[in-house]
Amino acid sequence: MSAIIAIIRRDLLLAMRRKSEVLTALFFFIIVVSLFPLGIGPESALLRKIAPGVIWVAALLATMLGLARLFAPDHADGTLEQMVLSPTPLGLLVTGKIVAHWITTGLPLVLLAPVLGIQFDLDTGALGILVLALLLGTPLLSLIGAIGAALTLGVRGGGVLLSLLVLPLYVPALIFGAGAVESHISGLGAGGHLSLLAALLALAVFFAPWATTAALRIALE
């Protein structure tokens, strides 16, 4: 357990020393979301309708930005090798790294989403559901993305390949996440979507670190 906390602290410390990267992903998110009204028009009924989808798609893309650097720097300077050789099981360390990735990329998106939702004229209830859905969904994005990041480690054209591998796997998260807000707005209640999202998250928590670990070992062989 202490090793998990150590690696989370280490990655957060590194993120603090490289603030610009974290902020870039965050501003990317804000800019992408803010561009939509400019492209579509300021009509608030339409904006309300597209808001959940737009915010979710932007969240997917913003998470993708950070993924390429989830393992690559550690791979380049040899610390990843040391993690594989550490007496602590690699699965735990990988889980720690995924948690740190979520804290630096997912959590800021969750916190910013209400502000962006207001731009799209969402009411308070919908904002709450949006935050809740993102809170369940963004860890899922980090978990699934980690598999892709590990698979494309040290591979030619890794960045583009990463999005090709990961984005199709993000489809369920996108559907249930954006769907939660939509069905709340249309009065159907978001419970079903949110519990499905939670179920997916539970599945990913078990499955993704295992797959990521296996992929990392292959990449280092």
Binding site: I7, L14, G78, P87, T88
Partner: protein, 201 residues
């Protein structure tokens, strides 16, 4: 005691070596020599369990290393081509964090002492990216000194070190061997250390 029997390594379509046997006991060290591309690094990576051998097996204290898994990794320290040092962190942070990942707490005094010993006094709180290549390697030497491992597997530990640092490292290895440790290393230099054997591949 580390033993390996019948190791072979295949990279791509090429067979780098086959039927390789080796044994290193307490207080002994092994100097792996060979031309560029002969498979020195591959051999060390196999011994460190980073990659599986195509054939053969590696045993630690008589048990296969895959079975021992974490117990073997606790007893072994591998330093590869890459420094395994984070550029953004200070030498002190690097040492303590590496120790935590290895599953033990390193108090600041011990860490500081190791850094001073390897001539990094006054550099403890400077991000590693401001250090020279040789100083970066010295951070690694400090890590060797603080981590209690019975077996050291070192890939080209002398690169980028100046005369003084080479002497320090040799001294460190000698101390390690005298305390009953084992070492396997690759190097282009010959090393005047006792109980050494040479493995040519």
């Amino acid at each position: 005691m580390l033993t390996a029997t019948g190791l072979s390594c295949v990279r791509g379509e090429r067979r780098l070596f086959a039927g390789l046997d080796l044994a290193v006991g307490p207080g002994e060290w092994l100097h792996v020599q060979g031309e560029n591309g002969a498979g020195k690094t591959s051999l060390l990576r196999i011994l460190a369990t980073l990659s599986p051998p195509a054939e053969g097996e590696v045993r630690w204290q008589g048990e296969p290393v895959e079975v021992l898994a974490e117990d073997y990794r606790r007893a072994m320290l591998f330093l590869g081509h890459h420094g395994a040092v984070k550029e953004e962190l200070t030498p002190l942070e690097n040492l303590t964090l590496a120790a935590q990942l290895d599953g033990f707490e390193l108090d600041e005094a011990t860490a500081l002492q190791a850094l001073v010993r390897f001539g990094l006094r006054g550099r403890e709180d400077l991000a590693v990216r401001f250090l020279s290549a040789g100083q970066k390697r010295r951070v690694l030497l400090a890590r060797l000194a603080v981590r209690k491992a019975a077996l050291w597997i070192l890939d080209e530990p002398f690169t980028a070190l100046d005369v003084k640092a080479v002497a320090m490292l040799s001294g460190l290895i000698e101390e390690h061997l005298a305390a009953g440790g084992m070492a396997i290393l690759t190097s282009h230099q010959s090393m005047p250390l006792p109980n050494g054997r040479v493995l040519k591949i």
